[in-house]
Symmetry: C2
Subunit: 361 residues, 2 copies
């Protein structure tokens, strides 16, 4: 049997099975956006996450400028800290690159990484470098912190809670579709915005922190693998069902324009497109969109409701019928034959469930 | 300019230059075996290290069984914690592998990793997986802990201190040379021992901890890139010189036999061979070999003495003349043209100096 037969989620389940029970100081191991660790800090916990980016899977040098890739490599890790309600602190980076890699590329990568580090308050404290026989591969590990009583897990959603989303889903996937089609300069501001959303995503650190310190959410996850897939994970971790109203999913004018240019359906991009790095959370019934938007400093939309344990995740189309999505999320190994244009994909087995959740009835 | 023009040490200096000054909570960033972080634990610090292994550079599937590679991937990180006097606690692992990788290989890798984790007290708490267009690449990040007053840096050596080494240097390099020459079964126990030293090194965690808690050393480093290179790093970090007596370097009978079989000089292997993962430390004048061996539970040899600031690192041959080593350590990028048989090499820019130390007068 090969990895391509097992698939990414099968592999993760296998690793989690091998790993077995962690010690008493591991408050949460594999199965959330970060590990949550008892570090001995009075009243505080450590958060630890790791994510890798490899050329040909997560990026192409042709379409990803080195500086933006550096920013993104840290941003995707910062998003995992945000998804626990934490504050980023320290990170390391390993870089594997062919000997003929231009030094300018490496300079650009680190400049972007450190630029993102400065704006987020995370400090680069170490790393490792090696020649590679293959593509450029970078791997980061990021430590964050959170007051013990404020950590937001995927597992706290309760029936009746509202399901909320920050920002505009699908824009990153639309940007990627445009990058893969085009050769030339950005034809207008909307389409350039979509590409930026893909190449230089903004982790929602402050919003995550505000949800945590205000105790405003019952469960929280970042949208890295697609809204439907990540809602499925949150529901599975919480042991509940969920009903997502397709007509409440916000579709930005830029997304509509980009989807049209790429010949894609904007709702499908919003539901299945990965790498938005928006926050998806649940909150008890009385939290309002406007009040939440004010506190988080981001547009927040109520897009559905948590349903009883045992009910499946249902996505309802504007006519009131269950939607069937043929491709609810990314799987690196199943979806990724080796070749120069492997699909972009999201990341994180600390951000992955133990098995692929069942999305549809 | 390409990475191959800059070299690994040039690259690391460049990264450290980009990174600039770290915050007040970073007690040691780039430039020691681990970063040392103020985590808010009363009386304690966090240690953080990261190391990668990539196929074709650090291992070949032909000669490295998956289970031993898993053990080694953690061992090399554990060795960095040992080299600060710390205790390992939590780790993450990222795995990049081609879709056609056998699941048996992956199972073996994680089995070895977790086997080593259990025996060291470190818990696997998360990770990431991805398909790869190229070779198998694994990257680990390991968190450890140490009482604040006990951390052993590279930088504490003082003129007159003795230079001490645990165990038998060069055995790993001899084992590698044998692995690269041979196809068949191990012809005898000595040569099998050398191969095991290369494929399944033993991190000196307990010895490091005992040096730290007993305040027995003034400076400490692990021997990952070769005895001469790593002594150069320790001396440079401490701002001192060092005199290493070649005739005091312990050459094991197995090393002598392996060097003969591989047509290599045993002293050269002991001085320049990487991946021993022994501890190299300095201690004030009255520490004896026998007493130290008893406390550390390992053979300890006095191999030289720290000399005044401004004096170079000198390696003296048995006849009393300075030795000139043509290849004092590994450099991934300079030494590594792309191809199926890149040289094995050691790792760690948290375990690297800011610039290549000058080894010889």
């Amino acid at each position: 049997m090969k990895l391509s037969d097992l698939g990414e989620f099968g592999l993760i389940a296998r690793i989690a099975g091998h790993a077995g029970a962690a010690g008493a100081r591991v408050l949460r191991g594999i199965g959330d956006d970060c590990a949550v660790l008892d570090s001995g800090v009075p009243g505080g916990v450590l958060l630890l996450t790791t994510d890798l980016l490899t050329e040909g899977v997560h990026f192409e040098r042709r379409t990803s400028p080195a500086r933006l890739l550096g920013r993104k490599a840290l941003a995707v890790n910062l998003s995992d800290i945000a998804a626990m309600g934490g504050t980023p602190a320290f990170f390391t980076v390993t870089l594997c690159a062919p000997p003929d890699t231009p030094v300018d590329w490496v300079d650009g990568f680190y400049a972007g990484l450190l630029d993102r580090a400065r704006s987020s308050g995370a400090a680069l404290v170490g790393g490792d470098t090696s020649a590679s026989r293959g593509p450029i591969t970078v791997s980061l590990a990021l430590l964050g912190e959170c007051p013990s009583g404020e950590v937001l897990y995927r597992s706290g959603a309760r029936p009746g809670d509202g399901i909320y989303l920050t920002g505009w889903p699908g824009e990153s996937a639309a940007g990627l579709a445009l990058l893969q089609m085009e050769g030339g300069e950005p034809p207008d501001d909307d389409l350039a915005h979509l590409r930026t959303r893909h190449l230089d995503p903004e982790p929602r650190i402050l919003a995550g922190r505000r949800l945590a310190e205000g105790k405003l959410a019952t469960a929280l996850i970042d949208v890295s693998d697609g809204l439907a897939a990540d809602l499925g994970r949150l529901a599975e971790a919480s042991g509940v069902g969920a009903r997502l109203e397709g007509d409440r999913v916000p579709l930005s004018p830029a997304l509509r324009k980009g989807a049209a240019a790429a010949g894609r359906d904007p709702l499908e991009l919003a539901l299945t497109g990965g790498e938005d790095y928006e926050l998806l959370f649940t909150a008890s019934g009385d939290a309002g969109e406007e009040a939440l938007s004010d506190v988080l400093g981001l547009p927040v939309r109520l897009i559905g409701r948590v349903t009883a344990p045992g009910t499946p995740l249902a996505i309802i189309d504007p006519a009131g019928n269950p939607l069937d999505l043929s491709r609810p999320g990314h799987d690196h190994f199943l979806a990724a034959p080796p070749g120069p244009e492997l699909p972009l994909a999201a990341r994180g087995f600390s951000s992955q469930p133990r098995k692929l959740p069942m999305f549809f009835p």
